[in-house]
């Protein structure tokens, strides 16, 4: 199997799907000639030409809104919003138009729209380029929200997103662009949306981690294994609809759960997981569900702030030990 970086996995996914279906096209700021602000669409302009790979004005509402209109008119757009922090500029098109058109019009329209966007949590770029907004969009019915943590997941999930007839917010993480993984060399390699992945099996504590936190949870699990603590790491991969079946099966087995996320604790991803576990697994719990999240504050400019605010491997190790105490 070829080894690919997270970034090339995304490019490959788009290339394969654009080759497979000529209804698929890509537009966004700097995606064509520049090959993407983070290089995640390199080569696509050459491969598919300026009709299907388009640089847009810096007009987020138009980027998503045109995606909505083109999807209603039969295309399968992939649009890119450079940073997830910019979703506020196009939230009406996402929440009211993309998410609801299939519903409002009684299923007469499909909405095969992929909104690719990047999280730069912990990159130290300041308060408008460092947020984890997966919970914000996860709150809107009609949207699927995907957040892969490995190259293989990124490719398989993006291909599934492009083939999906529903609007999908696809959250990439810039810090993960360079990580590598072997990926099946198969144009029909897909990873289903809405299915969590047990990244490491264990029996003592279930750690549900998303995005950037998955790798840290795995590192923490490795350290804890040395102490005889067996940690199961679950990456939901899809934020919405969340695979509670896999999560609750794990928690029912281990009876202890820690949720690690870059999303704020308040009304956040961890809260959602904890609440659902409370409902589904209450009688299986031997400890309260714990959440590790950044404090309820913006992130100033500078990596030292980001590193201070976000959960690290030490924090995960400590929280797991607490659960085992």
């Amino acid at each position: 199997m070829p080894t690919k970086t997270y970034c090339w996995a995304i490019i490959d996914a788009m290339r394969e799907e654009m080759a497979r279906d000529d209804k698929v096209f890509l537009m966004g700021e700097d995606v064509a000639a520049a090959g993407g602000a983070f290089g995640a669409s390199r080569g696509l302009l050459d491969a598919f030409g300026p009709i299907r790979v388009r640089d847009t004005p810096i007009s987020e509402e138009i980027i998503v809104g045109m995606g909505v209109g083109a999807a209603m008119a039969g295309r399968r757009p992939i649009v890119e919003i450079m940073f997830i922090d910019f979703l506020g500029l196009c939230l009406d098109q996402i929440a009211n138009q993309a998410a609801k058109s299939h519903y409002i019009y009684d299923g007469m329209f499909k909405m095969p729209l992929v909104i690719r966007t990047s999280s730069a949590v912990e990159m130290g770029i300041g308060p408008h380029h460092s947020q984890a907004w997966e919970a914000l969009v996860g709150h809107i019915p009609g949207l699927k929200v995907v957040m892969p943590s490995t190259p293989r997941d990124a490719k398989g999930l993006l291909k599934s997103a492009i083939r999906d007839d529903n609007p999908v917010i696809f959250i990439e993480h810039i810090a993960m662009h360079r990580i590598k993984e072997e990926i099946e060399d198969d144009e029909d390699f897909l990873i289903p949306i809405g299915k969590a992945d047990v990244k490491r099996a264990g029996s003592d504590v279930s750690v549900v981690a998303s995005g950037l936190m998955v790798a840290r949870a795995l590192a923490a699990a490795e350290r804890l294994a040395g102490d005889g603590i067996s940690v199961e790491v679950i990456d939901p991969r899809t934020i919405s609809p969340l695979d509670f079946d896999t999560i609750s099966a794990s928690v029912s087995k281990t009876s202890r759960c820690l949720v690690v996320s870059s999303s704020h604790k308040n009304f956040g991803f961890g809260s959602e997981v904890a609440a659902e576990i409370g409902e589904r697994c209450f009688f299986d719990l031997d400890q309260p569900v714990r959440r590790l999240s950044p404090p309820f504050t913006p992130a100033p400019f500078g990596r030292q702030f980001d590193q201070f605010l976000n959960p690290d491997t030490d924090a995960i190790v400590a929280a797991v030990r607490d659960l085992m105490a």
Binding site: P57, S59, I62, N96, Q97, H102, G107, M111
Partner: protein, 315 residues
């Protein structure tokens, strides 16, 4: 799509009757929710849509019945949709501000002022990619021209030469505020120049003038010459919604505009062309009866079951 003069008149009449009869329902408390009346603007929808094909797209707004009917939406499902009934074209889920018919290129209304403009641009982009000569029309009010999406849409449409016709129905009132109070330049069309978009100001109460301007815009779009902004000067007879006390304008002003009724104006034109008054009279009676039948159909239709709210969240 060429339409003979009688068909054009009939199309305006259907809209006029629908609006009148819905207002009666509202007064009798038989209508759920808001009515955003299209009375007085009939020439706009009919004039624009009379030059479109089924393969052309329109994107409507919250005041959309005129657009739906002019683009050919079937009367009964449209009316039932307005009342939120299960027999509505969207199964009653859309209601008064949302109806659509993909087969006719009707890409829906909207509850969000201005939100339809980017969607129309997207439809125009799809049409451009298809290369089959289809165009997209966005209907919006002059109030929506103050939304950021207006500028974003004109800009990208010009940049990408999209087959998009931006139809601004300037009825003078942005919801409950006189438009003139909210702008430094009361002509919406004037803004097009700055974006490099062709524009025209048209008498929105003259269906033939609208039709002619639409014809020019559509022709340019189909020829790959890019977008056009048409500003149709017209007047909203009713308030922003039925029940709006309209304190922001005088009754004299309303009377003055009603004297310029687009339907009566076109009727006079037809009579002058030699169409017999009797023929028009029987057409008017037939349309009134047809609309009444649609209203009865809608009233008699069941509501969708509440549990259907859980369906079709995802495709």
């Amino acid at each position: 799509m060429t339409q003979d003069p009688i068909t054009l008149y009939r199309s305006m009449l259907v809209i006029r009757e629908c609006e009148a009869q819905l207002n009666e329902l509202f007064a009798k408390n038989l209508f759920p929710g808001y009515i955003h009346s299209y009375l007085g603007q009939e020439a706009c929808a009919v004039g624009i849509c009379s030059g479109l094909n089924d393969t052309d797209y329109i994107v409507s707004n919250h005041r959309g019945r005129g657009h739906y009917l002019a683009k050919g939406m079937a009367l009964k499902p449209m009316m039932a949709e307005m009342l939120g009934k299960a027999t509505g074209i969207c199964g009653g889920r859309g209601g008064e501000m949302h109806a659509a018919d993909p087969a006719l290129g009707i890409l829906g209304g909207n509850g969000i002022v201005g939100a339809g403009m980017p969607i129309g641009a997207g439809a125009a982009l799809a049409a451009q990619m298809d290369g089959l000569g289809a165009v997209a029309v966005v209907f919006f009010g002059e109030g929506a021209s103050n939304n950021g999406a207006f500028g974003e849409t004109l800009n990208v449409a010009a940049a990408w030469n999209l087959p998009l016709i931006m139809v601004c129905e300037n009825n003078l009132y942005a919801e409950m505020t006189p438009f003139a109070q909210t702008v430094g330049q009361p002509d919406v069309a004037a803004r097009a120049t700055g974006y490099g978009v062709a524009s025209e100001i048209v008498d929105g109460n003259d269906v033939l003038a609208v039709r002619a301007a639409a014809g020019r815009a559509v022709e340019r779009a189909r020829a790959g010459e890019g977008p056009t902004l048409l500003e149709l000067k017209t007047y909203r007879w009713g308030g922003h919604f039925e029940g709006d006390p309209r304190k922001y304008r005088t009754r004299e002003e309303e009377a003055e505009w009603k004297a310029r009724c687009p339907v009566a104006r076109y009727r006079r034109h037809l009579v002058a062309l030699g169409v017999e008054a009797d023929r028009l009279g029987s057409l008017e009676a037939a349309v009134a009866a047809e609309v009444a039948e649609a209203v009865t159909f809608a009233l008699d239709s069941p509501l969708p079951p509440p549990e259907s709210a859980l369906l079709k969240v995802f495709a």
